[in-house]
């Protein structure tokens, strides 16, 4: 599968560490469960607002959730 973005994320590990299911986290950041799954799998880059909401819901900084490789 072609990855649409070079951005990677640690949502799954952070979500599991926080004891949240995909449905619970999706509900907190106001996206569908399908969208959260796509973000976790790197198939979709969320908007900046959604990225901040994910970080906030997981109680970490944005750059702890999303990583962008050095050029």
């Amino acid at each position: 599968m072609v990855r649409p973005t070079a951005v990677t994320n640690s949502i799954r590990a952070l979500r599991e560490a926080a004891g949240l299911t995909q449905a619970e986290l999706a509900g907190r950041i106001d996206v569908t469960r399908q969208t959260l799954i796509a973000v976790e799998q790197g198939r979709y880059s969320p908007s900046l607002e959604t990225a901040f909401r994910i970080a906030r819901a997981l109680g970490v900084r944005l750059d702890e959730v999303f990583q962008y490789p050095e050029a």
Binding site: P4, V31, T32, Q34, T35, A38, Y44
Partner: protein, 149 residues
């Protein structure tokens, strides 16, 4: 169709199915309609077969969407930013065929072709647009989608 798919993806499957069934249904109505027997192709009465195909597709779409809405929970009927982005991407992709159909119709009109050919070029464009748009939407949901596209 996956049971846990996004509502917009289900909608795309419905659109695809209706477009794939709709055009052959139109051809059946066209060639077997009243007054069709023995006439040359360009003189076949096409207006009512087209109108019935469009009305039938709209009716079937409403019924199928209502059926799927009943059998899915409310959460999965929500739309979010990804649904809106993919929707716009699919619309843009499908529009290519609407334009192709319109240009085909325009060219045929300039060549003084029979109204049958002009109408059918535009009508075929609509169906191809629905098929391509639905496939683009399903592909975007199933695979990777970038907001940069």
């Amino acid at each position: 169709m996956p049971a846990k798919s996004a509502p917009e993806e289900r909608s795309a499957w419905i659109m695809l199915a209706l477009a794939v069934i709709g055009y052959p249904a139109y051809l059946i109505l066209l060639f077997n309609g009243a007054g069709a027997a023995g006439r040359p192709l360009a003189e076949l009465p096409f207006a009512w077969p087209m109108i019935w195909t469009v009305l039938g597709s709209i009716g079937a779409s409403i019924v199928l969407h209502a059926v799927f809405r009943v059998y899915t929970d409310l959460e999965s009927n929500k739309r979010d930013e990804r649904d809106r982005l993919i929707g716009r991407f699919a619309d843009r992709t499908g529009q290519a065929f609407v334009i192709a159909g319109a240009l085909g119709g325009l060219a045929l009109a300039m060549l003084a072709a029979a109204p049958f050919w002009i109408a059918n070029a535009i009508f075929l464009g609509f169906f191809c647009s629905a098929i391509l748009g639905s496939i683009a939407k399903i592909a975007a949901y199933r695979g990777a989608f970038s907001r940069a596209w």
